[in-house]
């Protein structure tokens, strides 16, 4: 006769308290609500299935955040190529998180349109404040690749910012 799983209780408590923060972090990584849902769901499901091991660590939440980054990284590798946006769209997909905070539609739209890997690199660099070698370790690539991704992302953003400024001057 199967017995109830007591560990799921502790994991349930972890999900109850930290899901909000982890979901929002997933949104930072993915740029949209639906991908964020999928990502945090997969990361937490994997974590929960190994909870007996994860809960001994000092930072289960950090474990989940790392899992999210690695899931995204593995998806890039499986897909073989990224869906690159050749030019930033003039208006990005509606994203209430951005629009609520700032009226800078050019930067917002460009961020929303960045390829996933570039976006993740920016998130890890500017939100997690990781060094490039730490980011490289997390993504399973070289520090040179991290710097290249960041540089290309910032170049796109500078172009978008300059274009928006020219447009505003009329």
């Amino acid at each position: 006769m199967p017995t109830p799983d007591p560990q799921l209780g502790a994991f349930e408590e972890f999900v109850e308290h930290r899901l909000g923060a982890l979901y929002r972090y997933a949104w930072v990584l993915t740029g949209n609500r639906h991908d964020a849902e999928d990502l945090v769901q997969e990361a937490l499901t994997r974590t929960g299935a190994s909870w007996w091991r994860v809960r001994r660590k000092d930072d289960p939440e950090g474990y989940v955040r790392t899992a999210m980054v690695r899931i995204m990284s593995n998806r890039w590798r499986r897909s073989g190529r990224e869906e690159l946006t050749p030019d930033p769209p003039d208006l990005g997909a509606p994203d209430p998180g951005f629009e609520r905070v700032t009226a800078d539609a050019g930067l917002s739209a460009t961020l929303a349109g960045l390829p996933p890997r570039m976006r993740v690199v920016l998130a890890l660099r500017y939100v997690e404040q990781l060094e490039d070698n730490e980011i490289a370790s997390m993504l399973g690539c070289s520090p040179g690749t991290v710097r290249s991704q960041a540089s290309r992302a910032l170049a796109k953003l500078r172009i978008a910012a300059a274009t928006a400024e020219e447009d505003s001057r009329g």
Partner: protein, 358 residues
């Protein structure tokens, strides 16, 4: 860090204080985690048993070479027995099965003549809770309305008078079901509760605590499989997307079917003695002749891969069912009522329910 980089950091960090996750996300995570753990335990058990068999075979193998015996494959554990016996000699009667194997029902007493009498209360069992527990009491006046229940993604719904009671993951019970007459169908799936709003359309509630909206559509709600509600209006069958309210006619649907049931992989109609099952992926239909049950209540439920056509006995406690495998078309006759949902099948077998993965 230059100005642009500071702007980027500000934009990204702003998301860390943005919207809350959807209400049902936590439930989905916990449900999937539990399922993944069960699969891992089952695989581990098979691995251990197989290792033992292999080791045994290795030991026997030398002898086996002499007598020609081979080790037999071992099936993964896939069946749970739910006890029906409750305190005071009452029995648990299943009314709904959820896609995660949750069994929701009520208590009945069975007389020496086999006649069944409703005693009420909402009881719950599951693959990990094999002795049903009472989760809520019901009033005596609500018993005539207690004809069915719904289970989905940690939301349980049952009727109480002409309203619906909804038990959510936080353990509190809310009254929902505005516009429900006590006779229309209701469903719970993906954290949504959907019911027929008499004369107005299809009501959709976002969980037990969330807002309710009504999608205007004429007819009667007959089936639901997220995100589509199936409504019959005269000879027509409509499918209504509860996310967008978009409505379209179901192609080649039978005129005025007696019953409709919808699942993730199939849509089924009962017209007279015929059951038509449509593969939702391919659009192909298969029609079979249903058995004739001398039954006061027929129930049809769809899981991912099976359909259960179930009839309770005239007096209630006994019954029978025919369970169709949607993949092969084969069927099995069961000696008791059955319910199908998700990857589970619950079959009444005397004083227990056999809950099996299908």
């Amino acid at each position: 860090m230059d100005d642009l980089e500071r702007d980027v950091a500000e934009h990204l960090r702003a998301l860390l204080v943005a919207d809350a996750p959807p209400a049902e996300l936590a439930d989905r995570i916990l449900t999937r985690t539990a399922a993944r753990r069960r699969r891992r335990r089952a695989i581990a058990a098979v691995t251990v048993v197989t290792a033992l068999v292999v080791c045994g075979a290795a030991a026997v193998g030398v002898a086996g070479v002499r007598n020609g015996s081979d080790p037999q494959p071992v099936a993964a554990p896939s069946e749970v027995t739910i006890q029906r016996g409750l305190a005071g000699g009452q029995r648990f009667k299943a009314m709904a099965l959820g896609p995660d194997g949750t069994v929701l029902g009520t208590a009945v007493s069975v007389g020496p003549d086999g006649a069944e009498h409703l005693r009420g209360g909402v009881w719950k069992a599951s693959p990990t809770v094999v002795v049903p527990r009472r989760v809520q009491s019901t009033s005596a006046g609500s018993l005539p309305y207690l004809w069915t229940m719904a289970v989905g993604d940690r939301v349980q719904v049952w009727p109480e008078g002409e309203r619906l009671k909804c038990l959510g993951p936080n353990g509190s019970v809310r009254t929902i079901g505005a516009g429900w007459s006590g006779r229309e169908r209701f469903y719970a799936e993906r954290g949504l509760v959907v019911w027929g709003h008499a004369g107005r359309g299809v009501a959709v509630a976002s969980g037990c605590d969330g807002p309710t909206r009504t999608i205007p559509v004429k007819g009667f709600l007959k089936g639901f499989s997220y995100p589509l509600a199936f409504v019959t209006e005269g000879a027509k069958t409509w499918q209504v997307d509860v996310r967008s309210s978009a409505k379209s006619a179901v192609a080649r649907a039978p005129r005025s079917p007696d019953e409709i049931v919808a699942g993730p992989t199939a849509l089924a109609w009962v017209t007279g003695d015929d059951l038509t099952v449509r593969d939702r992926a391919t659009g192909t239909d298969r029609t079979v002749r249903l058995p004739v049950y001398q039954s006061s209540s027929i129930q049809i439920t769809l899981g991912d891969h099976v359909l259960a056509y179930s009839g309770s006995g005239e007096d209630g406690d006994e019954g029978q069912a025919r369970v169709y495998d949607l993949r092969t078309g084969a069927y099995v006759d069961e000696p008791g009522p059955a319910l199908a949902a998700g990857g589970w099948l619950a079959v009444q077998a005397g004083d227990v329910y056999k809950l099996t993965r299908r």
